[in-house]
């Protein structure tokens, strides 16, 4: 009756958010006087199993089958559901990534188990797992309890601390077969194009975001680009040549407001907010973003918010710890220079 934790891997490397999930699972294990079992499927199982031990797993179940090298919902769900059925864990925990969302929901349906998704806080109360999670796009929080003998939980990235790895640990490692994997999958992968420059907003410790104000670029668009197209050109140029250098200096990811995305300034995968990503970095620098309630829903969990905006009345300042009133095209380059002077 252990607490399972799925350690998600990409190209044979564990995601650091999975170690956060392992730390969160320990809260459940402690509350139930149990311990944690890491599940590692696919490539590089031995090395990841040893790391799982250092991050606190008492046991590790590995399945190095070649068919698990690339994540596939149907294969992973079949194996996970088989393990749940055979071993009746008290809980199954994973980081709330896009893959874990579908995997955990599917396996929870297979065993008719409760799933509490995207939790930011966890506790055990009278033997039940209680998770705190955002609802209504983060405008309210809810406490949800799972009532089933196995409960599934996904934890929001950066909501739980990374456990301190132990120098030495010897987890029990057990290898299992992959007979559960169906011989034919319903989804047939025809191709994959890797994205250049990962966005990784969910894991970023620092995010630099641009909004509608990105179109106020003093740099003139080419003379044959006019009207709205000129604004789009100027904003894109600003994201690439003003925001990107600041983000690179900080090791930050680039975010954007819905207004910037809808206007065609930057692709959707950068959108932070109610219909984009919900982020909670240590530092969020909002440039030329007024701070509509939909945007706030996506970033209000940030530890320190900095606003750079020409309009001193912009609502974003009310949410921010620090503000500079001014044109982002003057402030951002000055900020980058100051950073390079201070940090070298």
């Amino acid at each position: 009756m252990s607490v399972f934790v799925w350690i998600e891997t990409v190209a044979g490397a564990a995601l650091s958010s999975s170690w956060e999930a392992l730390g969160a699972a320990q809260i459940i294990a402690d509350g139930l006087k149990s311990n944690t079992t890491a599940l590692v499927f696919g490539e590089n199982c031995d090395e990841i199993a040893a790391d799982a031990g250092r991050y606190g797993a008492r046991q590790v179940i590995v399945c190095p089958d070649e068919r698990l090298h690339d994540y596939r919902l149907e294969s992973y769900a079949a194996l996970l559901s088989q393990l749940v059925e055979e071993r009746a864990p008290k809980a199954v925990v994973a980081a709330a990534t896009s893959q874990a969302r579908e995997l955990m929901a599917s396996a929870a349906a297979d065993s008719e188990s409760g799933l509490i998704s995207d939790v930011i806080d966890l506790r055990v109360e009278d033997g039940s797992i209680v998770g705190t999670r955002p609802a209504y796009a983060g405008k309210v929080l809810m406490e949800m309890a799972a009532n089933t003998s196995t409960s599934f939980v996904t934890v929001r990235g950066r909501a739980f601390p990374l456990p301190t790895p132990a120098a030495d640990s010897k987890p029990e490692i057990e290898a299992v077969g992959a007979d559960a994997i169906p011989s034919e999958l319903g989804a047939r992968v025809d191709g994959f194009v890797m994205e250049t420059g990962p966005v990784n907003l969910a894991d970023a410790a620092i995010i630099v975001s641009g909004g509608r104000g990105m179109a106020n670029n003093p740099c003139a668009a080419p003379s044959d680009v006019r009207g709205d197209e000129a604004n789009i050109w100027k904003a894109k140029h600003g994201f690439a040549n003003t925001l990107r250098p600041l983000a690179d200096a900080l090791g930050a990811a680039i975010g954007a407001s819905r207004a910037a995305v809808d206007a065609g300034y930057i692709p959707y995968e950068h959108q932070v907010g109610q219909t984009g990503k919900v982020v909670n970095p240590d530092l969020y620098i909002a440039c030329g973003i007024s701070g509509a309630i939909q945007h706030q829903a996506g970033m209000r969990g940030s530890k320190i918010i900095v606003a750079i905006n020409k309009d001193a009345q912009a609502p974003i300042f009310k949410l921010s710890r620090y503000g500079i009133v001014g044109d982002l095209y003057e402030v951002v380059p000055a900020l980058r220079e100051a950073l390079e002077e201070k940090l070298g």
Binding site: L73, E74, A77, S98, Q99, R101, E102, M104, A105, S106, A108, A109, E112, S113, G114, L115, I116, S117, D118, P134, A135, Y136, A137, G138, K139, V140, M142, E143, M144, A145, A146, G186, A187, R188, V189, D190, G191, F192, V193, E195, P198, L250, Y268, Q274, T275, L283, R300, I304, V306, K318, L319, R321, Y322, G323, I324, G326, V331, A334, A338, K342
Partner: protein, 261 residues
């Protein structure tokens, strides 16, 4: 003939303030509801795919009459049929209960080829019900779809692009299948005047669990309580200085003190 199905729900307007009142209930005052923002894209895609396949489109909502507004909006956009499932005492915020009702409706309809979801529901703040419906039906699930390359209802095949965290995957599957679509897959249309007038007059049938021959499962989760998020006790400092260079230097010093750099 193709039959494309989608689900929707009414949620508070995205710009509305939503809070927990003295009784512990979630409220958004007198502000109107809108169709769940992610569903704008799935509704549009349902209309397009049903029309391409020369077939029918149906929109389903599960829950109280609150969701009639979303159904009427869907009809006004151009979805052909609407249907609501309501079961007294069923906790439709529990995804296993929701997906059991949804699967029952799909089975009762009998001829559905493709189910299209929006990425998630903003009220419950999750997408888990979409995967659980696919699982209950035993249909292939293709999530995070950013483009439908082809839906061939005669051949019973679909090919799509999925936007994943590491890149774009091209994947195909046999129908029937469940997909969830991202923002950006299309430009949702606005309902026109005729559509709105027609939708206003529409009578929306309501089915119960008994109507679809379903023994409802017990809810696997319980919402214990709702809370307002802790107020951000922010004491904003507008950085002062002679020029932007000086302000920038001060800001960097502050951020170093905060240990966020």
């Amino acid at each position: 003939m193709a039959h494309v199905l989608t689900f929707t729900r009414s949620t508070p307007d995205t710009a509305a303030k939503v809070w927990v009142d003295d009784q512990g209930a979630v409220t958004w005052g007198d502000v109107a509801t809108v169709v769940n923002p992610w569903d704008e894209y799935s509704l549009e895609e349902t209309i397009v795919q049903a029309s391409n396949g020369g077939g029918a489109s149906t929109v389903v909502a599960i829950g109280s009459a609150l969701h009639n507004d979303a159904l009427k909006h869907s009809l006004a956009m151009g979805i052909k049929n609407a249907l609501r499932l309501e079961e007294a005492g069923a906790d439709c915020n529990d995804s296993l209960v929701w997906s059991a009702l949804a699967a029952g409706a799909v089975r009762k309809l009998g001829d559905v080829d493709l189910i299209i979801f929006g990425k998630e529901s903003v009220d419950v703040g999750t997408d888990q019900h979409t995967y659980q419906l696919a699982r209950r039906l035993g249909w292939t699930m293709l999530s995070y779809v950013s483009r439908i390359i082809e839906a061939d209802f005669a051949e019973g095949k679909i090919q799509v692009e999925r936007m994943l965290e590491q890149g774009v995957q091209t994947v195909s599957a046999d129908l029937p299948a469940v997909i969830s679509v991202m923002k950006g897959i299309n430009e949702p249309r606005y309902p026109n005047f005729l559509g709105i007038r027609k939708a206003a007059k529409a009578q929306i049938p309501v089915w119960s669990a008994a109507d679809i021959g379903l023994d409802l499962p017990k809810a696997a989760t319980t919402a214990l309580r709702f809370m307002n998020p802790p107020a951000r006790a922010v004491n904003t400092e507008i950085i002062a200085g002679a020029d932007f260079k000086e302000k920038a230097v001060t800001l960097v010093e502050r951020l170093l003190e905060e240990k966020v750099l």
